[in-house]
Amino acid sequence: MIGKGIRNTVVIGFALLWLIPIYLLIVNSLVPVGDYSGAPSWIPTRFGFFDNLAIAWNQSGLGAGMLNSLLYSTASAAIAVLAAGLAGFAVVVMPTRRPTLWFWLIYLGTLLPLQIFLAPLFKAYVATSLYDTNLGMILIYSAICVPFAFFIVRNYLTTLPPEITEAAKLDGAGWWRLFFRIHFPLIRSSLFAAFIFQFTWVWNDLLFGITLTTSPDRRPVMAALAEINGGFSSLGPPVVLAAAIAVSLPTIVLFLACQRFFVSSLRAVG
């Protein structure tokens, strides 16, 4: 019994410790920026969150960044999931030659650290005028998202009994009909899990954002936040913290609402 008491105290203590940064983030984002004393507050007094956010939104391009990232995340995750679904289908269901080779060719993309792609991409983007364009960002984010989505979809497809394919083939269905009529509905939930996971990944990326874009109306949201953070003293900490909350809310809501799907994507990794 005593052991249990100690155990519960330790865990609750850790949990409280974990919540302190979040608490500080919220409380200080509420302080009206004009009232900020120069020292962090620990107790909420007045409510200036929306005024702080408005400053970040209008003066520092947070709004444009949010819209850009919404476009990049949605389009790239959708393209990647569709491409991954088709490739997974080809490797698992169709009688493709050397499925293992194709698997590794695509999967290699998640093994390597992103840094290895950066410099050649930068040079190629500048040379082909893809640098600092929406299309360029959607393309690279799609490519980055394909391997992991492919991994999830492929794992799921291998659990389907092959009889499904055989039965449909007996009915004379071609591959495309087979994919869209039979397999697509079956893998829909794993595609959705991959979509949510990749949407979050793209939304949270900073590295490609600062490497492949430069203008505020092409820049994704984390690059905008990084720049706002650079003005920590001039803008005032409450403005920067309010911006950090605003950019995090979409992914937090998505994460909490779709936790089941997150866990299933992570399970596929495990």
């Binding site: 390597l112 394909v146 939304w203 953070n229």
Partner: protein, 309 residues
């Protein structure tokens, strides 16, 4: 006889329906996979694999962004002699070890303790919530806490102690250690989730049988539960290490790898050498070394994954 109709439908050419199979139908089927594979393979091939090969080649050149010449392994030789690279390697090692102990250890502790606790779900949310934040947002929060006029120093002063004069981010190894702690704060959520998945897979009968034999508390955990968690532990460790080797945004926002280059890891060194100093060949060599380490570290858990697939 049932098979003839569909075969005719699939292989329009007459030879396809011959028993024993001519070659035309399988070949057609193989070719029909091409449009399915193309979008994925083209995206990954053009935007990831080609740049990968280009970086490997680039690491064998001297390139300032304008002129480039082949110099063999000279960049790697420079790496070995460069003291900032040694520092970067040392920091990378500290990140790896720190990640191995902290998020994995705390994640295991939290998962095991909250598993059977009433309201454990709610306690877990405290750890899972930061996982939904980006590295950039995490850096903003921790920057606010760690600044010399930040919340941490304020709290230290409140309890009557003297905060360190130079702050938390200006001196090595303090800056690397506090950044590892900030990363632990953000990354523990995912290890909690994965360990929970692992714990739910432990059959309750095994635990019951163990407690019937008189095992309890720590012994029950050590001898009965932990061995069952082995596969998931390997995955968690592998994933955590691979992720810690890739940390960029947190360091970039908190210290830019500085002061000087003392808090750089390989991921940051590569970025600075390439995009700030424009020493493309040297930056590429750093990227190659980083890739070798990441793939090597991932290998352990990859083997686990592939066993299952």
């Amino acid at each position: 006889m049932q098979t003839t109709a569909p075969e005719r439908a699939v292989g329009v050419g007459g030879a396809a329906s011959l028993p024993g199979g001519g070659t035309s139908r399988p070949t057609r089927d193989r070719l029909s996979a091409i449009p399915f594979l193309t979008p994925g393979v083209a995206l990954v091939g053009l935007l990831l694999l080609v740049p990968f090969v280009a970086t490997v080649y680039q690491s064998l050149t001297r390139d300032n962004g304008f002129v480039s010449s082949f110099i063999g392994l000279e960049n790697y030789g420079r790496l070995l002699r460069d003291p900032t690279f040694g520092q970067s390697l040392l920091n990378t090692l500290m990140w790896t070890i720190g990640t191995l102990i902290l998020p994995v250890g705390i994640g295991l502790l939290v998962a095991v303790c909250t598993n059977s606790m009433p309201g454990g779900r709610w306690i877990r949310y405290a750890f899972v919530l930061p996982y939904a934040l980006s590295g950039t947002a995490t850096a903003v929060i921790w920057g606010f806490i760690l600044r010399s006029d930040g919340a941490l120093n304020q709290a230290i002063a409140f309890f009557g102690a003297t905060p360190p004069a130079s702050g938390w981010l200006l001196e090595w190894p303090t800056n690397t250690i506090v950044m590892i702690l900030a990363s632990t704060w953000q990354a523990t959520g995912v290890t909690v989730i994965l360990f929970m998945v692992g714990l739910q897979a432990v059959p309750p009968e095994t635990v019951e049988a163990g407690s019937m034999d008189g095992a309890s508390g720590l012994r029950l955990f050590w001898h009965i539960v932990l061995p069952q968690l082995r596969p998931v532990t390997i995955v968690v460790i592998g994933m955590s290490i691979a992720n810690s080797l890739r940390v960029f945004d947190l360091i970039w926002l908190l210290t830019k790898g500085g002061p000087g280059a003392v808090s750089e890891t390989l991921a940051v060194t590569m970025y600075r050498q390439t995009f700030i100093i424009s020493d493309y060949g040297f930056g590429a060599a750093v990227a190659v070394v980083l890739s070798i380490i990441v793939v090597g570290a991932s290998w352990v858990y990859l083997r686990q994954q592939l066993k299952r697939t």
